[in-house]
């Protein structure tokens, strides 16, 4: 498939030409991630797709319900991954380990999160295993922990899961309660090299029809195409809105970056900090953007106007590109965009798991007031 400007719709396969768009789209849904791995991962994936041919991208419903499927993602630190790049077989090995354990052969791969580098490694894995990729994922954006998934909310266990590090060592975890898996896994990630290839949530296509979030891979491809098609920020926001439902909360100039070591919630590893933005035009409000591993809340004059699980990202107005959180400087003119997350995250269970409370902000979400 070629990237036709203005194309919006579901894709049926992923080719080498889609890789840059996938990367940009994946970044939109995980604004905290830096660009350190961009070149290597993009060329790796593009090479694979050139050699092995396009990866078919299938809707979950198009597979027989009994087809075994498994999700893959990268767990651990992105900077560790650029220090210790993948040897190339980690994701394949992780999937094979679960196949061995369960005595099955997976018929499809799906990304645990259609965001960050995990979206791309799912394509890598599918290309390596020569199986189709499902146009669905477990998060619809990036969350911090591996049980923050729609599958977990639907009662699908993340285990047995296999994590393979760049050192070739692997960990196999089986737990009865999903949330314990993340804790056990993180204890091992440092040891195996700072990051690991994860294969988790082995299940069937039939379960995924109700448990996964559909259409998320083609969505990031479409979003990525819009972002690559450099245009003026106002038009970009309008176009993004058509695909993702995002809207601009405010445009403003960064006034202050507060790097505070504040008491932080124990469940999510992050250093709380704040970004103060003076709104340009409009009401001239003072925006306060709370940062953890992602943007977790936006306050306007102290009133909460958006918060997790909403996806909030910043658009660098002068460059017309997404601003990653590590590139912000006082004086930058930015658009604060908010995109609603998938509906499952606004359910009581979803809010409890990934809402602002999990980031130590005990306020009622603006959508639930």
């Amino acid at each position: 498939m070629t990237s036709v400007s203005g194309y919006v719709g579901a894709s049926s396969s992923i080719t080498a030409e889609d890789v840059p768009a996938l990367y940009e789209g994946a970044k939109f849904y995980s604004p905290a991630v830096g660009d350190s791995n961009k070149t290597s991962i993009n060329s790796w994936l593009a090479g694979l797709l050139d050699r092995n041919g396009p990866v078919p991208l299938l809707r979950v419903e198009s597979l027989p319900p009994e087809t075994p499927c498994v999700s893959v993602c990268v767990i651990g630190s992105g900077s560790a991954m650029s220090d210790l790049p993948p040897a190339g077989d980690e994701f394949e090995l992780a999937v094979r380990q679960i196949e061995r354990l369960q005595q099955i052969t997976f018929g499809a791969i799906y990304p645990l999160a259609a965001a960050t580098i995990s979206a791309l490694v799912a394509v890598v894995t599918a290309a390596q295993l020569r199986v189709p990729l499902l146009d669905a994922d477990g998060m619809g954006r990036a969350f911090a922990l591996i049980h923050h998934t729609a599958m977990h909310l639907s009662g699908v266990s993340p285990t047995p899961l296999a994590a393979v590090g760049p050192t070739g060592e692997s960990v196999l975890i089986e737990v009865p309660a999903g949330p314990r898996a993340d804790r056990m896994l993180r204890a091992n990630v440092d040891t195996v090299g700072g990051w690991a290839a994860l294969a988790a949530y082995p299940t069937t296509a039939g379960v995924l029809r109700r448990a996964a979030l559909p259409g998320t891979m083609s969505r990031i491809a479409n979003v990525g195409r819009l972002l690559l098609d450099r245009t003026d920020p106002d038009r970009l926001v309008t176009r993004l809105g058509a695909i993702t439902g995002c809207r601009r909360l405010a445009r403003g100039r960064i006034a202050e970056l507060e790097h505070l070591s504040r008491p932080s919630d124990v469940t999510i590893p992050a250093h709380p900090s704040s970004l103060v933005v003076d709104e340009v035009g409009g009401l001239g409000r003072q925006l306060r953007i709370e940062l953890r591993s992602e943007i977790v809340a936006v306050f306007a004059d102290g009133a909460l106007i958006a918060g997790a699980p909403d996806l909030m990202c910043l658009l660098d107005v002068s460059r017309g590109t997404l601003a990653t959180l590590d590139s912000l400087e006082p004086g930058d003119l930015i658009d604060v965009l908010v995109t609603p997350a998938d509906a499952v995250w606004y359910s009581p269970a979803g809010i409890e798991m990934v809402g602002m409370g999990s980031h130590g902000i005990p306020l009622v979400h603006p959508r639930r007031r």
Binding site: E256, E258, L260, R262
Partner: protein, 510 residues
């Protein structure tokens, strides 16, 4: 004593006493009442706050970053009076947000729980808190030694209320804004009886009132009126002490005034003297230079160079009794003072002052000259010259004499005659006359005849003696060398006679 108010304490009052006195206040409206203190640990608690409360953030509600912003917003929603928070949580942007929401933010260094407990006590007993504030103010005032210092403390304490110390419409210290007429401002006056003063100074505070507003607002306004008055009363003793102190420090004051007057004297030499305005520092000394300035020159009867400072002190003490704003500047062998008013013809207060000063003038052997009233600084200088001239004329009439320049005319020229030197000339040229025992009568008679243009009858009338006596005396004077009727010598002898008479009459008086 007035019963102290039990109305809710205001934010401004709370911020003046511990524990908030040491805090960093960002008060949007110091006149907001504080009816309750809430120690808020959670946002739930914040949401349940009632209006006009002061909330101290603590624990979960004070984790920093977003939490203070959210708390400020909630406080704004709940119409709270103020938010108190630990310094570790408050950043510059929080202060900016507080200002934007017009919400008072107070940043403390102490433990929030301790602060909340203390504040709760103060809010529940507003009278006690006010007493505490007054005690603190009394301490501050007691530390002040100068009038300006006292006024500085008052103005700092009563931030939005300008206070000035005024004597006879002149601002001695403080903010002159206290006197400007403005709508919706109530003036509060407290008399300050300075030691030895007849006319009292007044402390004036301009308290902004809220005009026709709701009863609750006017109630708060009346509290502050009452309070302002009590604070002004509190300042009174310090002010009196400072006043007395400044009085004692006359040497400095004299030097200060002399220098200032010299400066003032130089002003009229500016290109257009009529436009010269009195510089602001003159009012600092309490001086007034206005529409009609009438100078007074106090001079010793027998000038003997610059008077010693002790004399200046004594003269000042008696001259300024009851007229503390009238300047007294030691100048040459005398002292200058002046009276300023709007009406050039109004001399009642000056006449009263001169009458009151008469005894002192006699005691110190002073004569007094009064100039005419002229406008502006240049006019004042002119009046000073006139007064000086008048004072010379006044010397003829002995100690305590007052001479108004209006009544002097050309005769003033005679006042400038160096009588002593002329008398010495007489000693040399008129030896026989000077040796005579009846010389005084002879000279006086010759003077009288010359003064009346040669008329013997007028002269005899003036002297109160018979015409023949006059004739006899004239004959004897002519014999002794006083040849008054020789045209070539007439002027010289007339002047001589005048000088000798003036000198001897003074000596007799002595």
């Amino acid at each position: 004593m007035k019963r102290s108010s039990t109305l809710p304490i205001t934010l401004g009052e709370l911020a003046r006493i511990q524990p908030l006195a040491g805090a960093e206040p960002h008060l949007a409206d110091p006149s907001r009442p504080v009816e309750q203190v809430v120690l808020a640990e959670t946002f739930d608690r914040l949401r349940r706050c009632t209006p006009h409360g002061l909330v101290v953030l603590h624990n979960e509600a004070a984790t920093g970053g977003w939490s203070l912003a959210a708390a400020l917003h909630l406080a704004w929603e709940r119409n709270l009076s103020a938010v108190v928070v630990a310094r570790s949580v408050a950043g510059g942007s929080s202060v900016a947000l507080a200002e934007r929401l017009h919400m008072s933010l107070i940043v403390i260094d102490d433990d929030p729980i301790d602060v909340a407990l203390q504040l709760a006590g103060q809010v529940s007993a507003p009278a006690a808190a006010r007493a505490l504030r007054q005690a603190r103010l009394a301490e501050l005032l007691a530390e002040q030694t100068g009038i300006r210092g006292v006024l500085g403390v008052l103005n700092r304490e009563l931030q939005q209320v300008p206070v000035a110390l005024v004597v006879g419409g002149v601002v001695i210290a403080g903010q002159s804004a206290a006197l400007t007429e403005r709508p919706q401002v109530r003036l509060i006056e407290v008399e300050v009886q300075a030691p030895g003063e007849r006319s009292a100074a007044r402390l004036i505070a301009a308290v902004p009132s809220t005009g026709p507003a709701s009863p609750s607002v006017s109630a708060t306004a009346s509290v502050s009126l009452e309070q302002v008055e009590s604070l002004l009363r509190l300042a009174r003793p310090s002010l009196q002490a400072a006043w007395a102190q400044s009085r004692l420090d006359t040497a400095t004051r004299a030097a200060h005034e002399q220098a200032a007057f010299d400066l003032l004297r130089r002003l009229p030499s500016a290109p257009s003297p009529a436009d010269v305005e009195a510089p602001p520092w003159t009012s600092e000394l309490g001086w007034q230079v206005g529409e009609a300035n009438r100078a007074v020159w106090l001079a010793p009867l027998r000038p003997s160079g610059e008077p010693p400072p002790e004399i200046t002190y004594l003269i000042r003490a008696s001259w300024q009794r009851g007229h503390s704003t009238w300047p007294l500047v030691a100048e040459g062998d005398g002292w200058i003072s002046w009276h300023s008013g709007a009406d050039p013809a109004d001399v009642t207060s000056l006449r009263r002052a001169l009458a009151g000063f008469r005894d002192s003038a006699v005691a110190h052997r002073l004569v007094i000259g009064v100039g005419r009233a002229h406008a502006g600084v240049a006019g004042l200088m002119r009046s000073v010259a006139e007064a000086r001239l008048a004072a010379h004329v006044a010397r003829e009439d002995g100690p305590g004499a007052v001479q108004w320049f209006d009544q002097v005319g050309a005769n003033a020229a005679l006042a400038w005659l160096p009588t002593t030197e002329i008398a010495q000339v007489a000693d040399l040229t008129l030896e026989e006359l000077m040796a005579a025992k009846d010389r005084a009568a002879l000279v006086q008679t010759v003077l009288a005849v010359l003064d009346s243009g040669g008329s013997l009858s007028q002269a005899s009338q003036q002297l109160g003696v018979h015409r023949n006596t006059v004739l006899a005396r004239l004959a004897r004077a002519r014999q002794l060398g006083l040849t008054y009727d020789e045209p070539g010598q007439r002027l010289a002898l007339h002047v001589l006679s005048y000088a000798l008479t003036a000198l001897w009459s003074n000596n007799e008086l002595t």
